[in-house]
Amino acid sequence: MEAQRSTGGTATVLPRWILGFGAFAILFFMASQVTAFTISPAERDMGNLQKILYVHVPAAWISMVSYFLVFVASIGYLWRGRERLDLFAASAAEAGVVLTGLTLALGSIWGRSTWGTWWEWDPRLTSTAVLFLVFVGYLSLRGFIEDDVRRARWSAAIGILGFLNVIIVYYSVQWWRGIHQTQSSPETLSPMYTLGLRMNAFAFLFLMILFVSVRYHTAVLERGAEAREEEEALAGAAHV
């Protein structure tokens, strides 16, 4: 199963849709942030702190979506061997790691502000930390492999395994915390809250799509340059 190289047909100009979509995504993000921030009333128990959830929760959700993209693209790559799927997976993984890191930092701020501690071993935060490490490992591994086909195959393998662990990690940590400590995670369900949350969730989603698209196109260019270097090196060697 030969992996197809992606040297042909690479434009150095971003497709028009990305520019338009990017402008939309940025504007929508700003609008969502302002909206959620202003329209949400001070909650009963948490005061205004619940506003932190408008960034913390969407970051968590969309990082999961990114990893799901890694999962699908990795399976696709192993199945089809199309190199671009690997480049897409890596792009999604990078966005996922950024979002997961942000989730952890925001979760820490949230915990400090509500419970007084910088870290709590609650299921969600802990699973997020584990997943962060899994996909940081994914990106690290890629840095160590020079051969593009091996890099793609090995990344795909650990991307799939890593995502399979998402559910298992979450439930195992949940049971673990259930035994040691019953900790309620306060969640307001007033309609204002849900609207702000959903808007921001979409806002983060659109930004993620923008990031992944730009990163992907960059990756295709980088791969093209790398492939050309290899061909040149081989041609040079042949002449000598």
Partner: protein
């Protein structure tokens, strides 16, 4: 109210992360375009 400090930190961190990542993406893309357009002859590659 100190709670606004946390809220501010959270929102600032979010925006800062996205802006920083956006800048990183732009710079990486610019470098990739250069590398791609440079062509085989002009690329310095210590042999």
């Amino acid at each position: 109210m100190s709670e606004w400090r946390y809220i501010g930190a959270a929102y600032f961190l979010t925006w800062a992360t996205f802006v920083t990542y956006g800048i990183y993406l732009a710079r990486r893309r610019a470098r990739a375009i250069d590398a791609f357009e440079a062509g085989p002859r002009e690329q310095e590659r210590p042999q």
